[in-house]
């Protein structure tokens, strides 16, 4: 037996709020190990995006601890966090609308030391998404929704992350495009990158991930092997519409 993979990301009792009244996370603990794909599912308003904001440094937690590869992220601004190898593909894609596709991808490599293997990664991303190469000088805002999602994903890969967090990458996309996105995620996973995936499409997410957490109004209410959750009657009823 080999030793279990080391923890990549650990959350311990994390609470977060917007203002005084809206408590969006109430003592959430979860972890993602090296090379592992973890899904986080939950209904609208459960706090999934909030959790990703806390991890990426956009929102300071009220309590609890976030550690990435053993390092406490407390007080780190988002631009520092991404430099550690943790990259978020935000909800709604958020490509830079007036920057060209190529410039969007270059922005993805912003946090890396200059002259790093960015050129090689650019080739890799363009090979993964040939459409981005054909649209390289077009403004990001003129791409279709699916193309924008590919751009957002490609941009995040340009940061050469060790942990990739994705907030609803399939939202509003045609089924074919969703398939393509998940095929790419599969490739990324096989490349050794850890993934934390938030999805509305719970079935898809549970089939993709090895482990999963279920978030309800700011609290983890279930967790375990993704397969087991797929068969869990409560989860099936609440999230898979069965």
């Amino acid at each position: 037996m080999s030793a279990p993979p080391a923890a990549m990301l650990e959350l311990e009792g994390v609470s977060a709020a917007y203002g005084r009244k809206i408590r969006a996370l109430k003592g959430v603990s979860l972890e993602a190990r090296e090379g592992e794909a973890v899904a986080l599912i939950g209904n609208n308003g459960a706090g999934k995006t909030t959790l990703m904001k806390v991890v990426s440094g956009l929102l300071a937690p009220e309590a609890g601890r976030v550690r990435f590869r053993g390092r406490d992220l407390a007080g780190l601004a988002p631009d520092r966090v991404v430099g550690l190898g943790l990259c978020l593909v935000p909800e709604g894609r958020r490509v830079f609308p007036r920057l060209s596709v190529l410039e969007n991808l270059q922005m993805g490599a912003y946090a890396r030391p200059r002259g790093a293997d960015a050129a090689r990664d650019l080739d890799r991303v363009l090979a993964m998404f040939p459409i981005l190469g054909r649209r390289r000088s077009q403004p990001g805002g003129t791409l279709s929704g699916g193309e924008q999602q590919m751009l957002a994903l490609g941009r995040a890969l340009m940061a050469a992350p060790q942990l990739l967090m994705l907030d609803e990458p399939s939202l509003g996309l045609a089924p074919v495009v969703v398939d393509q996105i998940f095929e790419t995620l599969e490739l990324i996973k096989r490349g050794g990158v850890s993934i934390l995936l938030v999805e509305q499409n719970a079935r898809r997410a549970l089939k993709f991930a090895s482990r999963a957490y279920v978030l309800e109004t700011g609290t983890i209410v279930a967790q375990g092997e993704a397969r087991a959750l797929l068969d869990d009657p409560a989860v099936r009823q609440a999230y898979l519409g069965l």
């Binding site: 440094g57 988002p78 991404v82 912003y110 805002g141």
Partner: protein, 299 residues
């Protein structure tokens, strides 16, 4: 006569454009109007004036001396603008929009009065570079000083374009203007990029202040007000937030004013009326300005 009028319009327009760029750069990234910008340009002129008084011999009186004054004005105004952002705006970035606006007006009044009280209440002579009095061009004798001012302003605009379009920092500035939060997620230190934006915008304003001072040969504590408000108008005319719009708006306003002054009877008194009437007409037809993008395009 016509050539001279054309040069008047271009010179005035170039100065407006430089100032307008300062408004538009800041607006592009923070969606706020830096109403202290007129005082930034005034302080740029005063910084250059102070240098000229302190080291007249070192500067000399030719074009090189003028370039030194320009550099001093740009550096001074850029630093002042960075300081203003740090002290008066940064903490208000998430506040309701009126708060930074009022803060900016406050800064403007404080700076103007500080110069009024501590430097001078009167007009001060500003050095004009020697050897640029009259040049013959297309058979007409035209003002060489204006030609130099126009050249300097155009040079700065080209440099700004190259900076924004070609450099890593320029790209980060555009990314922040598009989506500040997404830029942070890519590793951009937004506070630093905003400071750089204020420096660049302030430096362009300072350059305009120095060129304005050279053009008229004098500066005064309230010299920023009128060109400031007109350049703001120019920025809105071109489409606030748009760099090309600021340049277009600046030159357009310069031409409108000079045409009104030259070709309408009693035109000198009508120039501002014509200019602002044109602004109203353009905004009625195109509320987001000539080259402005619809607000909805910003995510």
């Amino acid at each position: 006569m016509l050539v001279q009028q054309l040069l008047n319009a271009l010179t005035l327009g170039a100065i407006y454009a430089l100032i307008a760029l300062g408004y538009t750069l800041v607006y592009g990234i923070l969606a706020m109007i830096n109403f202290a910008h007129s005082e930034v340009l005034m302080l740029g002129a005063f910084a250059a004036w102070a240098l000229a008084g302190w080291a007249p011999a070192a500067l000399g009186s030719g074009l090189w001396g003028a370039a030194g004054l320009l550099a001093a004005g740009m550096l001074g105004a850029g630093l002042v603008n960075v300081l203003i952002e740090r002290l008066a705006y940064r903490r208000l970035r998430r506040a309701p929009r009126l708060a930074p606006l009022i803060s900016a007006i406050g800064v403007s009044i404080v700076l103007q009065n500080a110069v009024f009280l501590w430097v001078s209440t009167q007009s001060l002579a500003f050095p004009q570079p020697a050897g640029t009095s009259a040049v013959s061009f297309l058979g007409a004798s035209i003002n060489g000083l204006q030609l130099a001012i126009l050249g300097a302003a155009l040079g700065l605009m080209i440099l700004l374009h190259l900076f924004i379009a070609r450099t890593r920092m320029g790209r980060a500035m555009r990314a922040c203007a598009d989506d500040l939060e997404a830029a942070k997620l890519m590793g951009v230190n937004a506070d630093f990029v905003i400071a750089v934006t204020f420096f660049v915008g302030g430096a362009l304003g300072g350059a305009a202040g120095v060129l304005y001072g050279m053009n008229y040969g004098s500066i005064k504590y309230n010299m920023g007000f009128l060109p400031g408000i007109k350049a703001f108008t120019a920025a809105v005319l071109g489409g606030i937030g748009s760099v090309r719009g600021a340049v277009l708006g600046g030159f357009l306003l310069g031409f409108l004013e000079v045409l009104a002054a030259g070709y309408i009877p009693n035109g000198a008194q009508w120039r501002d009326v014509v200019a602002f009437a044109a602004l109203i007409l353009v905004l009625l037809a195109r509320p987001s300005g000539l080259l402005g993008e619809r607000a909805a395009q910003k995510v």
